[in-house]
């Protein structure tokens, strides 16, 4: 391609008080090119994209747009230039309609009617059907993302930035989105595609810039590379693999969930509908599903943070625990790692040692009502060394840890108490590959020692790698379990959209034909 690049970055640098997020990054994207920005969490991808979109101001460096140097002042300026961005976390108002939400982001005034018409037109054109009059809260996560994409497309962008777009989609929906992106590229729109999923990048992208620790470590044509070679550029070493050793452990039934129903505390949440499953010692059960399908509610009910009406619907070691609070459930062998780390799994404003006491106080850290800080410090040291938590010492504030290190610390705190039953939510969300492997391996070790492990994750690949059995949650319904070796990504993907026996998608079908309600699963 001989014409001027659509976008060129020269020496982009952004320095935060504690870290250099971007260090002299150079990059170039041609019109119609799908360009991957590949890097681990915290490598500086998002900062770079925000600089292009005018959200953060770089400290040094040049942005050259269609051959002209520009200083992008703010997102509105970026949009005027023809840059659109779909953020990882949506910025939609749930009580407003699709049209109203899009109108909020339009820089020029348009009447609602004509806007709705244009939404229908554009969404039809790109094969992304969307009803402009629908309220956001009634839409699935995939459809919400579609709203964000349409919002960008309405501005007829010359460059579309997509930040980790597939983390909320089923494998089938990912296919569909790739088609749209290819079509856009064919029409001359350049696409910056941010991801850490190597297979996606190899399939979709024409070229790639790999970033590690704020610096460019390489440029590549993904189609010519292997997953291993890309990963090496991304993390700087070979990907460590989890030990595949899986002795068969025949444990007793440890967690039993029977007909668990619970309405959500959040008005836009998902109600749990007569969920039943069980986990036995020596196995890892995975719960797959797109986020927002009842995972939060299920975990709150299992941990005891929200009590359920029927105490018999949850049992640990055969004892009904539905009425017990988290502390009492921990006394019966539960360990729990929530997906929110700071503010739930750990207390901001406290040191690592003090954060140990939060759940590990039962390990002999309290005598006569007084705390034994020495014991807590020892526990923290062990946790730091066993789980290679990168920090100064146990006296450091917990907020000084990066997301991945905090996750290792919290997971370590729960695992070192040798729980009979460990429940982990999004174990490697936002965690770099090295840390992710340590966390996965520790869960496998716990399983091999005879504990029961329940993992809730949106990363299907991760579940397929570490779990023995899988169940799928969709709109508050849970599928029957399936052995990981007897299923495929495609089947689970279908289930994730609710198409399993007794699931929500088949349920509507049953209702329509006046069938009796499905019994159990």
């Amino acid at each position: 391609m001989s014409e001027a690049p659509r976008l060129q970055l020269k020496g982009m640098t952004k320095i935060y008080p504690s870290v250099i997020a971007n260090d002299s990054i150079d990059m170039s994207i041609a019109p119609g090119e799908i360009h991957a920005v590949l890097g681990e969490n915290g490598a500086g991808k998002s900062t770079l994209m925000k600089a292009i979109y005018g959200v953060v101001k770089p400290d040094r460096g040049q942005i050259i747009w269609n051959g002209e140097a520009v200083a992008i002042q703010n997102p509105a300026h970026a949009r005027r230039l023809g840059i659109g961005m779909v953020f990882q976390h949506f910025s939609l108002f749930e009580t407003l309609t699709v049209t109203e939400n899009i109108a909020l982001a339009m820089d020029d005034y348009t009447s609602m009617e004509s806007l709705a018409g244009r939404i229908e037109e554009v969404s039809g054109e790109y094969g992304l059907p969307l009803d402009p009059g629908q309220l956001i809260y009634s839409l699935s996560v995939g459809l919400r993302q579609r709203v964000e994409i349409i919002r960008c497309l309405l501005q007829q962008p010359k460059l579309l930035i997509m930040d980790e777009p597939t983390s909320v989609l089923t494998p089938q929906a990912v296919r569909k989105m790739f088609e749209t992106l290819r079509r856009l590229a064919d029409e001359g729109c350049s696409i910056l595609y941010i991801s850490h999923k190597l297979d996606e990048i190899m399939e979709l992208c024409h070229s790639a810039t790999i970033i590690r620790g704020g610096k460019v470590t390489g440029y590549a044509v993904p189609a010519d590379e292997t997953a291993t070679s890309l990963a090496r550029m991304m993390i700087g070493k070979e990907i460590p693999v989890c030990s595949r050793q899986r002795p068969v452990v025949d444990g007793e039934r440890c967690l039993e969930v029977r007909n668990l129903s619970k309405s959500s505390a959040d008005q836009f949440g998902t109600d749990l509908k007569a969920i039943s499953f069980s986990v036995k010692g020596g196995e890892i059960l995975g719960v797959a599903g797109i986020s927002g399908n009842g995972q939060q509610e299920l975990l709150y009910a299992l941990s005891g943070e929200r009590l359920v009406d029927d105490r018999d619907s949850i049992a640990i070691h055969g004892e009904s625990v539905g009425h017990l609070n988290p502390d009492e459930r921990r006394n019966r062998g539960l360990g729990f790692v929530p997906e929110e780390r700071l503010g739930r799994g750990a207390v901001p404003g406290m040191s690592l040692s003090s954060n140990v006491i939060l759940t590990a106080h039962r390990q002999g850290m309290v005598a006569k009502g007084l705390l034994k800080f020495q014991k807590a410090a020892q526990f923290a040291e062990k946790c730091i060394s066993d789980f290679t938590v990168k920090c100064g010492s146990g006296d450091d504030p917990i907020t000084s840890l990066s997301g991945g290190n905090m996750q290792k610390f919290i997971t370590g705190r729960e695992i070192l108490q040798s729980p009979d039953l460990l429940i982990v939510s999004q174990p490697t969300w936002g965690v770099d590959i090295g840390a992710a492997n340590i966390i996965r391996q520790s869960m496998i070790d716990l399983r091999n020692n005879g504990s029961a492990v329940l993992v809730v994750s949106e990363e299907l690949d991760e579940l397929l790698e570490i779990c023995d059995r899988l169940i799928v949650i969709a709109e508050g319904y849970v599928s029957s379990s399936v052995n990981v070796n007897d299923t495929s990504k495609e089947e689970i993907g279908l289930w994730m959209s609710g198409m399993f026996p007794g699931g929500p998608a088949t349920d509507t079908f049953n209702e329509a034909t006046h069938n009796q309600e499905s019994h159990g699963c």
Partner: protein
């Protein structure tokens, strides 16, 4: 170059300790400006306000007398504040403590038993806790906002005290003045140092501060309160019983305020009056915050606040300053503290960065 305000990567330890000092200095400067505007010589005013009240033994005694209820209540409130339970009702709890303690002093007026003082203190504590249990009950059962309930109950309690002193508890031989009989010797706290009014109650206050320190810094329940204050979701995640913490937080404030009420009537006052506190219950809130909710800090800040009370009195007598001057200083102190606390989480930098654009 512009001054740029940016969040600190982590809260500044130094600023946490420096902020109360900055607030005190700014309060002082503002106070002196106000004095000058009122036509007083600032140096003279400073001397009258901050030196004269404490330049003799009697003055030191007065300082400790005033500081005792402040440090006691401040510590009690800090227990709740640590868990984000905002008890604004110490003034009312103090009044009810005084009513309970005073009632027993009056009915045992003829007796000389050694039991009277301990009994007064005990029932005073119970009275304060009973008054604090109203917001605790309403919060745990109906989720009623404890700030509003405790605040409004202050007016109820203070008026209740006035009602009783004007009515049933009035001295029958007191020529109709709204005051109770003078307490007997057995109901008066013994003076510790000859030539001052410093009484035994100061040890009770010290004891309260030490007990508060052990509870807040060393106990498991104190830890739970801190967790609940910093991150309520984490407290739920750990399974700490939040309702229990609400009760503890509010009752500790009531307990200390009730005892402080008894210390006032069994100390310098010696009888029940329509008003037994110059706003100690409110001032203790400022004491708790200036003291960083830490008993050690509360001890120091209670001395500062007591000095403001004494300085205000001295300023009225020597310089014809209005009585509102104490309140002004207290307000300035809290105002500057809240402002200076901003610098714990944020810092100011001169913005030097510029964009290289050709």
């Amino acid at each position: 170059m512009v001054v740029k305000i940016e969040p600190r990567p982590e809260p500044s330890k130094v600023m946490q300790y420096l902020s109360p000092l900055i607030a005190a200095v700014l309060m002082l400067i503002s106070g002196l400006i106000i004095f000058s505007l009122l036509g007083k010589n600032p140096a003279e005013a400073f001397h009258a306000f901050f030196v004269e009240p404490v330049n003799d033994l009697y003055g030191i005694g007065e300082l400790l007398i005033k500081a005792s209820p402040l440090m006691l209540i401040g510590t009690g409130l800090a227990v709740g504040f640590r868990a984000s339970i905002w008890n604004i009702g110490a003034e009312g709890q103090l009044a009810v403590g005084a009513i309970f303690g005073g009632y027993f002093a009056i009915i045992f007026n003829d007796s000389n038993g050694l039991f009277i003082l301990p009994l007064m203190i005990a029932v005073g504590a119970v009275g304060g806790m009973l008054w604090a249990s109203i917001p605790a009950l309403l919060k745990t059962v109906f989720n009623a906002n404890e700030i509003l309930v405790t605040l409004m109950l202050n007016y109820v309690a203070v008026l209740l005290l006035a009602l009783l002193v004007h009515g049933p508890l009035r001295d029958p031989n007191g020529y109709g003045f709204p005051q109770s009989v003078l307490f007997g010797d057995a109901a008066i706290l013994p003076v510790l140092v000859e030539g001052t009014r410093l009484h035994l109650g100061v040890f009770l206050a010290f004891g309260g501060v030490i007990a508060g320190w052990v509870f807040l810094q060393k106990s498991f329940t104190g830890y739970q309160m801190r967790v609940a204050g910093l991150a309520q979701k984490a407290a739920t995640y750990a399974g700490f019983k939040y309702k229990k913490l609400i009760w503890i937080g509010l009752l500790t404030g009531g307990l200390t305020a009730g005892i402080a009420g008894v210390l006032e009537i069994a100390g310098p006052i010696g009888q029940l009056l329509p008003s037994v506190s110059p706003g100690y219950g409110y001032a203790a809130i400022i004491v708790a915050f200036v003291g960083r909710l830490h008993p050690g800090g509360i001890f120091l800040s209670s001395l500062l606040m007591a000095l403001l009370y004494l300085g205000g009195e001295s300023g009225q007598m020597n310089l014809d300053l209005p009585s509102a001057v104490t309140g002004i200083f207290q307000g300035l102190l809290l105002f500057y503290l809240l402002a200076a606390d901003f610098l714990i989480h944020y810092r100011m930098r001169l913005n030097r960065s510029r964009l290289e654009v050709n």
